[in-house]
């Protein structure tokens, strides 16, 4: 099965896909922005400040999803010695890190009118900040270490330690008393969010997912060309 993930087989797709993904992203984002800023209703308690949710929540979801994917790919890559899985992980990390920063900054902006403070050292916010530090360590490790075996090992260790933080982020609002509200959307039980707010949230999530796909594809192609440049040096 893993042979299908070989760079030779997928580069013809990844090199052509970005322009289509970019086009789709711009369309979905435009619809999402109109829905989020104009058409969706204001909250009966939070007023218009609830609109920040449409950038804050998708960013938080995607940064958690990307870190989980990076961990999974790193572990599988390390066990089965699949170099390409590390390349995919490395290419996913920049967008995951930027989404983490977006979640923190927009959460802080949302916190001011809602809680009266820009920042609080509560469980959800602090654990999100820790996730950002793990992303940073992961990206720095790729920059520092040149030896591929060493960098594979170190980045795998960083992600394995970091993944422990992911369920803490998810359940922090249930386990501790935090300023942050509990989840409004549940996959297994009934969501407490109204469809008029759920729809723009899903559109914005789709737009953000497309953006991370776009960045992944561009970064992955860059990494492959970098490898090919080294190959030309050896010829």
């Amino acid at each position: 099965m893993f042979k299908y993930f070989e760079p030779n087989k997928i580069f013809s797709i990844t090199s052509r896909a970005p322009k289509y993904v970019l086009f789709l992203f711009i369309i979905i984002l435009s619809i999402g922005l109109v829905e989020a800023l104009v058409l969706s209703p204001e909250d009966y308690k939070q007023g218009h400040s609830v609109r920040i949710m449409y950038v804050h929540v998708p960013a938080a979801w995607i940064t958690l999803g990307i870190f989980s994917a990076i961990t999974f790919l790193s572990v599988i890559g390390y066990i089965f010695k699949l170099r390409n899985f590390f390349l995919i992980s490395k290419s996913l990390a920049p967008s995951g890190f930027v989404f983490n920063i977006i979640a923190l900054v927009t959460g802080s902006i949302w916190g001011k009118p809602t809680w009266g403070t820009w920042w609080a050292w509560d469980a959800r916010i602090t654990s999100m900040l820790i996730l950002g530090l793990f992303y940073l360590m992961y990206l720095i490790a790729w920059r520092i270490y040149q030896d591929s075996d060493r960098v594979f090992k170190i980045t795998s260790i960083i992600t394995i330690i970091g993944i422990v933080n992911v369920p803490i982020i998810k359940y922090s609002v249930d386990w501790w008393n935090t300023l942050h509200q509990p989840a409004s959307i549940n996959i297994l039980s009934k969501s407490s969010i109204h469809i008029s707010m759920m729809f723009p949230l899903m559109i914005m999530t789709a737009a953000f997912a497309l953006f991370s796909l776009l960045i992944f594809l561009m970064k992955y192609n860059t990494e492959l060309i970098k490898i090919k440049n080294k190959g030309l040096d050896r010829l």
Binding site: P7, L33, G47, H48, S49, M218, K228
Partner: protein, 75 residues
């Protein structure tokens, strides 16, 4: 209508700054990754151009190299 969209009952500054920060982050990341991509691609083209005909035809036989050369103006 327009005025209400901008001020949002006093929440306008918070809402618009959150959206502006998000979009600015998107543009910045896209530009950084695009620059990296273009730099590596140009490096590849220069290196490929410096190869002698024998090495160039060998390099061209690899499918990824062929793809890179055929996709030089894309993204």
């Amino acid at each position: 209508m327009i005025n209400e969209l901008i001020t949002m009952n006093g929440y306008g500054l918070h809402v618009w700054s959150a959206f502006a920060f998000t979009l600015l982050s998107f543009v910045s990341l896209y530009v950084v990754i695009k620059i990296q991509y273009t730099k590596e691609k140009n490096k590849f083209l220069i290196k490929f151009g410096n190869l002698n005909s024998e090495r160039a035809s060998f390099a061209k036989s690899q499918s990824i190299n062929k793809e890179i050369l055929s996709n030089t103006s894309r993204i």
